[in-house]
Symmetry: C2
């Protein structure tokens, strides 16, 4: 467990990588070959200094007086984000939100896809959405084992989350993204992440009121 040789990359830097990657891909699509931190800063709304520091954790990616090569950055970040490695996901809870995710199914990311879906409601089981057939919960274990999936998205209601996530973990899932804000108790090795749409809206409203005076950067 003494894992000291790997250069430790700050959590905040890692969390900005997807943003950088996506923005760079857009720029490349528009034909942009090179970019300087200042311009990438206006595109991403991140301070140029922060961008340069972030990039520096992955080596000397740029050239002074020139900037960064967009293609090179995309290659490097794509490798770190493992966008080439197919990332298969399971979905539990095919309601309003689950259905939306399934219909879109990350169509812009060819290597990321929900490949199986589960629900407890007999009225939904068997339905085919975007080439994925909704399966009963009883088949969850066998399916994710055979597909070797270790990451799941949960769009079940709060009151089912504890039970559902425990079942997911029992069957080998190690990372869960939940859209229900219910805190759950799980083994420490499980990576649980919440995405509460209601809180996001509340935060938007909060920050827009109070941040008024103080945001003088």
């Amino acid at each position: 467990m003494t894992n000291q040789k790997t250069t430790r990359i700050p959590r905040m830097t890692l969390s900005r990588l997807p943003l950088y990657y996506r923005t760079l891909c857009n720029l490349a699509d528009e034909g942009t070959r090179r970019i300087k931190s200042a311009d990438l800063g206006t595109a991403t709304q991140v301070e140029p200094t922060t961008i340069r520091r972030d990039f520096s954790y992955f080596g000397e990616l740029g050239r002074s007086g020139y900037g960064y090569d967009v293609g090179h950055l995309i290659r490097i970040f794509g490798e770190i984000l493992e966008v080439d490695e197919p990332q298969y996901l399971a979905l539990v809870g095919v309601g309003n939100l689950g259905r939306a995710l399934l219909k879109n199914n990350f169509r812009r990311n060819p290597n990321m896809a929900i490949v199986c879906a589960f629900d407890a409601d007999p009225g939904v089981i068997g339905e085919e959405i975007n080439q994925v057939i909704v399966q009963p919960m009883a088949e969850l274990g066998a399916t994710i084992a055979s597909l070797q999936i270790n990451t799941a998205i949960s769009t079940v209601p709060s009151h089912s989350l504890q039970q559902v996530s425990a079942k997911l973990v029992d069957n080998g899932i190690r990372s869960i993204l939940s859209f229900a804000p219910e805190p759950v108790i799980l083994p420490e090795f499980v990576n649980m992440r919440y995405l509460d749409l209601t809180s996001e809206v509340l935060n938007l409203l909060l920050l827009s009121e109070r941040g008024q005076a103080a945001v003088a950067k």
Copy 2:
């Protein structure tokens, strides 16, 4: 730079308020009258010390040797979050995601609701979803003016975001939550917030790989 004007409330504290509020409401529903930071900590998965520090920014809300009065906390936080003030929202882009938001429509928060929806697709316009009729973009200005709305959710694709958000701002919207990760250029007084589901999943995968190589160099 002596910025000791109002007691500035840390951003992280504010972002936890919705979690506290919801948890406290659940506790109240179950009949809990009082709570100590330790128990609220296990319920929210937040360190008790952090909870006490957070609460302290809003005054001395608790009593030593006793804990906090649940009803009192709910009142205080409800006021800060303005849950009593109805928060009406506009939605633009009634696709997969927009439809899901509209169908659910924050049903657990009685004072927060999407009250109007807009789309450019004639095939969607006129459709009624959860008592909201999808309107054409041409009516956006008049509708949000008459309803006095200043906050919007955008679920239009990336390539439409700049155009759509500019139109929203022109018509009085001051806060936007976008599900498309496209950076846009808007006046400074606009509060723009992104919620990129793809990035969220990538982050989940990235963080779960801590301990494995991936970033060695």
